[in-house]
């Protein structure tokens, strides 16, 4: 079964006719964005269509701004998502959410972790961390669902499970069923972390 327009419109109400889903994951190197993209990739494969993921390895994984892309649909050529093309942006950190607004498609959806991590220019005092980012994004007409994923990850038992909490928050905005998401997590996460991650997913889902 290929993702149908009902599924897509649930996620992205303004684009009922589209047949490709573009999801961007943005965050800070080391936050576990890669695993999140791989879980989404696994869930997307189970829909039976084509999937492409683009990851960042290397230098920027050292605390830099990182972006990964997941695209799925009937046939995908480029693994990269351009400006104004993302249906969903999953942001692991507020400043990173703000940085990539130009990538959101009109009517697209932002899922934002309210966590803040100061970049080095802010730490050294050369720059200021912008205030009220979520408020400003909403004022620009962006549909934002925010969540304190860090608190929920702690509740799940491991602060590293922020990534899976956020998948949970995103999951309920999709018509991929809760069970299908959990299946994708089982396929992706190492056995010994599975329990914590499933808990993290459910906490995000119910948030």
């Amino acid at each position: 079964m290929f993702v149908n327009s009902a599924q897509l419109s649930a996620l992205n109400p303004c684009r009922k006719d589209c047949d490709i889903m573009n999801i961007m994951i943005v965050g800070v190197g080391g936050q576990g964005t890669l695993l999140a993209s791989r879980i989404i990739g696994a869930a997307a494969i189970n829909l039976g269509g084509d999937v492409k993921l683009s990851e960042v390895h290397g230098m920027s994984q050292r605390g830099g701004s990182v972006v990964t892309y997941v695209r799925y649909g009937e046939k995908i050529a480029s693994p990269i998502i351009g400006e104004g093309e993302a249906d969903v942006i999953l942001a692991f950190e507020q400043l990173e959410a703000y940085r990539y607004i130009s990538y959101l498609k009109k009517g697209g959806k932002y899922i934002v972790n309210t966590q803040k991590t100061n970049p080095m220019p802010v730490i050294t005092g050369a720059a200021k961390y912008p205030e009220d980012i979520l408020g400003k994004m909403e004022k620009m007409g962006i549909s934002v669902t925010s969540c304190d994923a860090l608190a929920l990850a702690k509740e799940a038992g491991n602060i590293k499970s922020v990534n899976v909490v956020l998948i949970g928050v995103m999951a309920k905005h999709t018509n991929i069923s809760k069970e299908e998401w959990e299946e994708a997590i089982k396929q992706t996460v190492p056995e010994k972390f599975l329990e914590v991650n499933l808990k993290a997913f459910r906490l995000g889902y119910d948030a």
Binding site: V28, G29, G30, R38, G41, A42, I45, D50, V51, K52, L53, S54, E55, V56, H57, G58, M59, S60, Q61, R62, G63, G64, S65, I76, A77, S78, P79, I80, G82, E83, G84, L95, E96, Y98, R99, I101, S102, Y103, L104, Q115, T117, N118, P119, M120, P121, V122, I123, T124, G125, A126, A127, K128, Y129, P130, K136, M140, I142, L150, I159
Partner: protein, 575 residues
């Protein structure tokens, strides 16, 4: 079975299915995972070599010995391995030999943006370029066939977006290929001038044969749609072209050296005009012009950085994207930084405090050039630190050397730093070298190396003793010091730079991200804090200044214990 795979994993799978016997590589983004994935296949012997030249030579040896062999590296790694490449092109192979080179347009993790296709042309070896993971696997297998059929090494070229993207791959079984017989063959394998001259003739003949082969090969694909616009592309550029201009006719080139002349002519006959879409250098474009085919290329596209679907839509179709949403205020950049707990931080804290000239090298410690430490003066290439300091001393005199140190990591020292150290000793320099021994190859994602004492499969092995090695090349002053004991480290540095002879300081502390570091617990800042901001000078991402003074971030700390060592008031204590 179908599986979602990274391009690099698919290359590893291709090597496995092709029955490869021996793989020797040196890590380098974006190529590293190829060899990491290969190391998981017990059917293949794999190793991390000290550098790319050693790796390629080992692969050449394996292929000469009759095995199928592969070596993977990043683009600048091919510079290091260029010497054997140009001559193995003459020698050819016995078992198949494939070199994988990963270019990094956009310089996600590199110090330059070189286009390795130029090497294939210069060394006269065939080069294949896959456009997705399925092709990564298929082309790897094909490369071994071509290698054995045409008696040539073959280069498989990928770029970051192919190497680090995942797409679907159909898995097949490994086909065992017996190791071929080895017989001594001096005329073929010994490249002295008398043997190399007839070999060069054969290489030119081989190129002609490969050109013919390529035009008929299924590595290329001609997709004729609307013939008003024709596009020639290879690799990831094909995907951007397909996305931007789905109705155009496209010639997708899979084997980019030697070029498929007949096929290009045939394509040119069919379409009204041709755009050549290729990142970096105008390689295909220049070729087309050289055979008299008029194309549009770099006069509208750029020589710099990555291409994108949007760029092609704009340049080919004249479609401007809608104005995207923009924040109305500047957004602070988030550059890569040394991790919390990084063993290098103590070193640069001291070097920055002493205001020394620092010739740097390539590794995580390259980030010692960044604010707030801004300690490093120069970075060129791997191994280039000791030699830079030596050259500066020879130009500016011994007094300059009293204020200068060279810094490089353990892996980099073994890669090509050791020869620089020998140069210093041999030519009576007085450089002070600091080896940042964090017990791992950090920057590329934690690979073992000869100085760690473990192999690619994490088996214990004989460890290079850096101290003894330095002594052996003639350095009498060798000190091992912990860079987190900042007071002592400062004393050691002062002593060693003052000495008018070569000296080596081995700054020993494991990378915070590996088990060996063993950091547990956390530190907090108590009310003895006078807000003097000494700890802020460390540039640790886990310490931020708040209205109430510095604070250690609860999600980022690792408990490394460096910051208490710079606090004069005892305000940082174990929680």
């Amino acid at each position: 079975m179908k599986k979602l795979m990274l391009g690099n994993e698919a290359i590893a799978r291709g090597a496995y299915e092709a029955g490869v016997h021996v793989v020797s590589s040196y890590p380098g983004t974006p190529s590293t995972e190829i060899t990491e994935f290969i190391s998981k296949y017990d059917e293949i012997y794999s190793e991390w070599a000290p550098n790319e030249k050693v790796a390629v030579e080992t692969a050449i040896g394996a292929a000469t010995g009759g095995g199928r062999a592969l070596s993977a590296m990043k683009h600048v790694g091919l510079n290091v391995a260029a010497d054997p490449l140009f001559t193995v092109s003459y020698i050819g192979v016995n078992g198949g030999l494939v070199l994988v080179v990963a270019d990094d347009p956009g310089m996600h993790s590199s110090q330059n943006e070189q286009d390795s296709r130029n090497y294939a042309i210069a060394a006269k070896v065939p080069m294949l370029e896959p456009a997705d993971s399925a092709e990564c696997k298929e082309f790897t297998k094909k490369a071994f066939e071509i290698s054995e059929q045409f008696d040539t090494p073959v280069i498989l070229r990928v770029t970051t977006r192919v190497a680090h993207s995942q797409s679907m791959v159909e898995l097949e079984d490994r086909k065992e290929v017996p190791v071929k017989d080895y017989t001594k063959n001096i005329a073929k394998n010994v490249m002295i001038p008398a043997n190399a001259r007839p070999k060069h003739v054969m290489v030119e003949e081989r190129t002609k044969a490969l050109t013919e082969y390529n035009s008929a090969s299924d590595l290329n694909k001609m997709e004729i749609n609307d013939t008003k616009i024709g596009i020639i592309a290879a690799g990831i550029s094909y995907q951007y072209a397909k996305e931007a201009c789905p109705d155009a006719s496209i010639l997708k080139i899979g084997m980019i050296n030697p070029m498929p002349e007949k096929l290009i002519r045939e394509f040119a006959e069919k379409v009204d005009k041709i755009y050549v879409v290729e990142q970096l250098d105008p390689v295909i474009e220049n070729y087309c012009r050289s055979i008299g085919i008029d194309v549009i290329g770099k006069e509208i596209f750029t020589l710099i950085g990555e291409y994108s679907t949007e760029l092609l839509k704009e340049k080919i179709l004249g479609e401007k994207p809608a104005e995207p949403m923009k924040a109305s205020e500047p957004i602070p950049v988030r550059p890569a930084v040394m991790c919390p707990g990084c063993s290098h931080r103590g070193v640069f804290y001291v070097l920055s405090k002493l205001k020394l000239n620092v010739t740097g090298d390539i590794g995580c410690y390259s980030l010692g050039c960044a604010k707030p430490l801004e300690s490093i003066d120069t970075i060129v290439c791997m191994g280039g630190s000791i030699t830079a300091a030596h050259g500066m001393e020879k130009a500016r005199g011994k007094d300059f050397a009293r204020k200068t140190v060279a810094v490089l990591g353990d892996s980099t020292f073994v890669h090509s730093g050791i020869t620089g150290l020998i140069d210093v000793v041999y030519n009576k320099g007085t450089t002070t070298t600091i080896i940042l021994d964090n017990s791992i190859t950090g920057m590329t994602g934690h690979q073992q190396n000869p100085a760690t004492g473990f192999t690619i499969k994490n088996e214990p092995t004989r460890q290079v003793d850096l101290e003894m090695l330095a002594h052996a090349v003639g350095v009498d002053r060798v000190v091992i010091a912990d860079p987190f004991d900042v007071d002592n480290f400062e004393k050691v540095v002062k002593e060693e730079i003052a000495a008018e002879e070569p000296s080596v300081i081995i700054a020993q502390r494991p990378c915070a991200l590996i088990k060996k570091a063993g950091y547990t617990g956390r530190y907090v800042i108590n009310d003895k804090c006078k807000n003097c901001k000494m700890c802020m000078k460390l540039g640790c991402p886990a310490i931020s200044l708040t209205e109430n003074g510095p604070k250690i971030d609860e999600t980022l700390y690792v408990g490394c214990g460096l910051c208490p060592n710079v606090c004069k008031f005892g305000a940082i204590e174990r929680a």
